[in-house]
Amino acid sequence: MPRVNTNMDFFTAMEVSASGLSAQRARMNVASSNLANAQTTAAAGGGPYKRKDVVLSSADIPGTEGELGGAVKGVEVSSIKEDTAPPRLEYDPGHPQANAQGYVAYPNVNPVEEMVDMITASRAYEAGITTMSTAVNMAEKALGIGK
């Protein structure tokens, strides 16, 4: 996204929290994908669905690279990796996807883990919103100096 460059330092905090909000949104999307596919036995590419994990890395926000000696970093989703844990095998010989021994490979998704991930993402999103509101409040207070 092209950034409108201004000399307003308050916007840096807003840009950084915005990158955090986007990252948490990505985590939320991935968690919902994992939960939705918790029973998917025939994913694209064959085999059961594999649980996805978001890898976050710190990134420079365009236009703020030099700020505070480069200490100010945003966050970005660097990649989405597949969980390497083995699939969960369940005995169900009547299932069309069952193997020769009668076992069906279900995704390596643990709904409890996904719920925890979702709650963490939601709380982190709230924290980002709070940072943002505080930055906006500070800017408003600065504009009100002398009133």
Partner: protein, 95 residues
């Protein structure tokens, strides 16, 4: 009877040494207006892209862009108010 000078007023030694500012208030005001205009355009664009289902624009980005535009406009208005205030203050000087 002679009235003596008030001590210290005759020279105001610091006054001639004050450097002239690099930019004047008009320039800062016009810069603030340009910024506000750019941010307002940005907010409009983001809202349009969000309305057109661009997946790279989240709802928070739209709200943040408009919040930024709002702050920039208020900054410009504050500069304008301060400049006007200073002008009125000078114009109302009793002579």
């Amino acid at each position: 009877m002679s009235i003596g000078k008030i001590h210290g007023v005759e020279s105001l030694p610091g006054l001639s040494q004050v450097e002239k500012p690099q930019t004047n208030l008009g320039e800062s005001f016009s810069k603030a207006l340009t910024d506000a205009h750019a941010l307002d355009n940005d907010a409009t664009q983001q809202a349009e892209r969000f309305a057109n289902h661009d997946p790279s624009v989240g709802i928070h980005e739209v709200v943040i862009a408009s919040e930024k535009a709002s702050i920039a406009v208020r900054y410009a208005v504050t500069l304008k108010n301060k400049a006007l205030e200073a002008y009125h203050e000078l114009m109302n000087t009793q002579v």
